[in-house]
């Protein structure tokens, strides 16, 4: 064996490892080059700020999905959780029937987050403790949330909120919107917690091998449930940012986020099979998704066609995950 040969192959292994873990970043770069060549507007700060702003809501919900995926489950209620919690917040702040102005916006935000977390808890209890398939439990909660959102708003959009909540979506720190910084902060925190704490370790263990986790003394039900709880919290957090950024709320808020979140997670390297992937990857996966649609919009691709394409991207992402897992086995 020549030494250069082994060193060369080590380099290749490293590169292939890198490309597997940071496939999303590579994809973003390639796509950016293409869109830069086709649209003069693409590579402007205005446009990138826009991409990051849009990412800040999707990616926070996607982080929740990534955590649920890590436990080996799936949350279909995330998008409607965003809708319901933001509608709830809007009603509490605006409705005359509830005698306005008694609700401090900060209190409202806390209530929204509490409600989101509660929805997550319902998903968790139904899945982990009652033993329902996650698909059924979260599909049920998805409908409950959507129904409640329609019920409390009468399906009418609500706009203009007190200035104090503008911080989450419309205020800037230097050139950077606060919500983007919050998103980055949340991701750094989640990445740290998921790799460096008992909570994170056990979430990975439960997803990586439920039985092995149980026979190592890990409370499988508790950590499965916690995954959903955290996801519920993050979905409502995404709802807060969305409400603040748009300064208006409608029942269509967050629609389809659960699928965007799956695309973002898988492209970011998180596996549908559970226990594998980095949470931070989901951030890049989400940026990829938003960039793709941003670029297509600039190329004037029909929005309906974009929807169809999104479906294909979801299928492609899942296909990729299946392929990755099969190669391993």
């Amino acid at each position: 064996m020549s030494e250069t040969g082994t060193r060369g192959s080590a380099f290749l292994t490293k590169m292939s490892q890198f490309s597997k873990e940071y496939m999303a970043i590579i994809a973003i770069l390639i796509m950016s080059v293409v869109f830069t060549l086709t649209s003069p507007y693409f590579l402007t700060w205005e446009n990138w700020k826009n991409i990051l702003l849009q990412t800040s809501t999707v990616s926070v919900a996607a982080m929740g999905q990534a955590i649920v995926l890590l436990t080996g489950n799936f949350d279909l209620s995330l998008g409607r959780n965003v809708a319901f919690t933001s509608c709830l917040g809007a009603i509490l702040m605006k409705s005359t029937a509830l005698s306005p102005n008694i609700w401090n916006p900060w209190v409202v935000i806390l209530i929204m987050l509490a409600m989101g977390t509660l929805i997550g808890l319902c998903n968790g209890v139904l899945t982990a403790y009652a033993g329902l398939p996650a698909f059924i439990a979260t599909l049920g909660l998805q409908n409950v949330c959507y129904g409640l959102a329609k019920l409390i708003t009468n399906a009418t959009p609500i706009a203009t909120f007190p200035n104090s909540i503008a911080f989450f979506g419309r205020r800037y720190f230097g050139p950077m919107p606060w919500c983007v910084l919050i998103m980055i902060g949340l991701y750094i925190l989640a990445q740290f917690l998921s790799t460096k704490t008992r909570l994170g370790r056990n979430i990975y263990a439960v997803g990586g091998g439920k039985e092995a986790a149980f026979f190592s003394g890990i409370n499988v039900k508790k950590y499965t449930c916690l995954g959903f709880v955290i996801a519920g919290f993050l979905a409502s957090f995404s709802g807060v940012i969305l409400m603040s950024r748009l300064n208006s709320v409608a029942i269509t808020n967050g629609q389809g986020y659960e699928f965007d979140a799956v695309i973002g997670s898988i492209i970011g390297g998180v596996s549908l099979a559970g226990g594998k992937g980095k949470i931070i990857g989901t951030l890049f996966g989400s940026i990829f998704l938003i960039t793709l649609f941003n670029g297509m919009a600039q190329l004037h691709v029909d929005p309906f066609v974009q929807d169809v394409l999104k479906g294909f991207v979801l299928l492609a992402a899942i296909g990729l995950d299946v392929f990755r897992n099969r190669k391993r086995a």
Binding site: T197, R198, Y204, A205, G208, G209, E211, A212, G217
Partner: protein, 494 residues
């Protein structure tokens, strides 16, 4: 004299990234014989079978079946050519009936293309009766015992007109009595002209059953010899490439106080009035047929399953564990039966698996220390001689023996005082087995207690100080080491 070979293998090679699984292996199998294939884990047996069964394709070499060169591209082609594999892990459609399973892939149809149930059941019954066993062809497969499932697999192969049957470690999950039935079946099939390639880790079986034996080691062919020309010791040394000492290296430890005592333990319908105790430094064996309540007893004591009545005392104090976690915190541990799914997270690294039970030890101020994790991993890998390229290698890439050592390590790191081991040496090779036995010696010498559940009678006899025998959830006997024999245990088991 020219012999009649059904299968001729010549220069067969197969490589995977990083391993040469088979390296120019050549041997022949005589028609109508039982041909044993032995070797340690990683010797290349599985790869060889997978090539014969059309799952892998060889890199080089020739395989000739009935004088015709073969190179199957799919398992289906192999089956059509008359090669069937009876797998270690059963590949049956569990909710379907026995009859349906026999005809999977070729459901019989009668008039109007409808399923001809009557004929299917009749033929299924004929095949099963012919083997001299009793199985209801209408019963769903998941209602059968492991042993009967295995027989159903054999029957399916027979039904597919199999000429060469490969039995891949069928004995790993069977008790001695079930084995005898299986041996009877194998011999009967041989009598009917079916050739059998039999793979096993238990060498005793090979002497009972096989005509010839081929030994593989590290992907190389060591030798093919008639079984009557070798001794067990010689076979072992061929497999491991060195002479092994005593097969069961039992060393007596200082026996101390009673660590665990069970009084009148009942779990309705599963365990009936079980009482025993174990002392410090003792290895207690739990023997019995599969389904006699051995694993269930461990689960009940460890707080995994509920106890309906009775008491458990640990170090003289009455305990009722509400969860397995509580039992672990109190110094109990379990090496579970199924290494692959219960013992390890396959996609996790060696060090991550090692630290799974005692995560506390690597958490400082709430934060997992990567340095400590690496340190513990390396320390135990060295102590237990775990062969792994690195601490970051996923355990799924380790051999069975090394995987099992990782499982043992989890509990050594936790420093568990009372350790249950459920089939601790199932499916691992001779060398690794001996290493596990040495680990058991080390544990009891440190004043710990090992409770060993095993279907391998010689292992129980060879390693335990005392043996408790279960039958249908009842305790039917207790034997000291010096009074226990295979016969005495067997007569209580049945």
């Amino acid at each position: 004299m020219d012999k009649d070979y059904i299968l001729e293998i010549e220069g067969l090679s197969k490589g995977f990234p990083g391993v040469q699984a088979l390296d120019k292996v050549s041997f022949n199998v005589e028609r109508g014989t039982i041909h044993a294939l032995v070797g340690e884990n990683g010797a290349g047996k599985s790869t060889l079978i997978k090539i014969l069964a059309g799952i892998y394709r060889a890199d080089a070499g020739n395989v000739t079946l009935n004088g015709q060169a073969i190179a199957f591209k799919t398992p289906h082609e192999a089956r059509v050519a008359g090669i069937s594999v009876v797998h270690q892990e059963m590949k049956l459609a569990e909710p379907l009936s026995v009859a349906e399973n026999l005809f999977v892939g070729g459901i019989l149809t009668g008039r109007g293309n409808l399923v001809d149930w009557k004929e299917m059941r009749r033929r299924a019954k004929e095949i099963i009766d012919n083997l001299g066993v009793e199985i209801d062809v209408r019963a769903p497969v998941d209602s059968l015992t492991v042993a009967k499932k295995q027989i159903v697999e054999v029957c399916r192969a027979v039904n597919m007109n199999c000429k060469l049957m490969i039995m891949d470690e069928p004995s790993a999950t069977l008790t001695d009595r079930e084995l005898e039935i299986l041996f009877g079946i194998a011999k009967k099939l041989r009598g009917e002209g079916i050739t059998i390639i039999y793979i096993s880790h238990r060498l005793d079986e090979i002497f009972n059953l096989a005509d010839n034996v081929t030994v593989l080691r590290d992907g190389l062919m060591v030798n093919t010899v008639p079984v009557r020309d070798v001794t067990k010791r010689r076979l072992i040394s061929m497999m491991v490439g060195r002479e092994l000492g005593l097969e069961y290296p039992k060393e007596a430890a200082q026996i101390g106080d009673v660590l665990l005592e069970v009084k009148n333990l009942v779990r309705n319908g599963v365990l009936h009035d079980i009482s025993f105790n174990v002392r410090q430094g003792e290895v207690l064996g739990i023997s019995g047929l599969v389904g006699s309540g051995r694993t269930e007893l461990a689960r009940a004591i460890l707080g995994i399953d509920k106890i309906d009545s009775g008491e458990v005392y640990v170090r003289g104090k009455k305990k009722l564990y509400r969860s397995f976690r509580e039992a672990i915190k109190d110094g109990l541990g379990l090496i579970p039966e199924d290494r692959k799914t219960q013992g390890l997270v396959q996609i996790f690294s060696v060090k991550r698996n090692i630290c799974m039970v005692s995560l506390d030890k690597i958490i400082k101020k709430g934060i997992v220390s990567a340095r400590l994790e690496q340190q513990y991993g390396e320390e135990y890998a060295k102590k237990l001689r775990i062969m792994t390229p690195s601490m970051n290698t996923q355990v799924q890439y380790l051999s069975g023996g090394n995987q099992q050592k990782v499982v043992v390590t989890k509990w050594m790191m936790q420093n568990s005082e009372i350790l249950f081991m459920d089939e601790p040496t199932r499916g691992i090779d001779v060398g690794a087995k001996t290493e596990i036995y040495h680990l058991i010696n080390d544990l009891v010498k440190q004043g710990k207690t090992v409770i060993m559940i095993s279907s391998e009678m010689p292992e129980i006899l060879g390693m335990c100080d005392r043996i408790v025998i279960l039958h249908e959830g009842k305790m039917v006997g207790e034997l000291m080491r010096d009074e226990a024999t295979q016969e005495r245990i067997m007569e209580k088991c049945v």
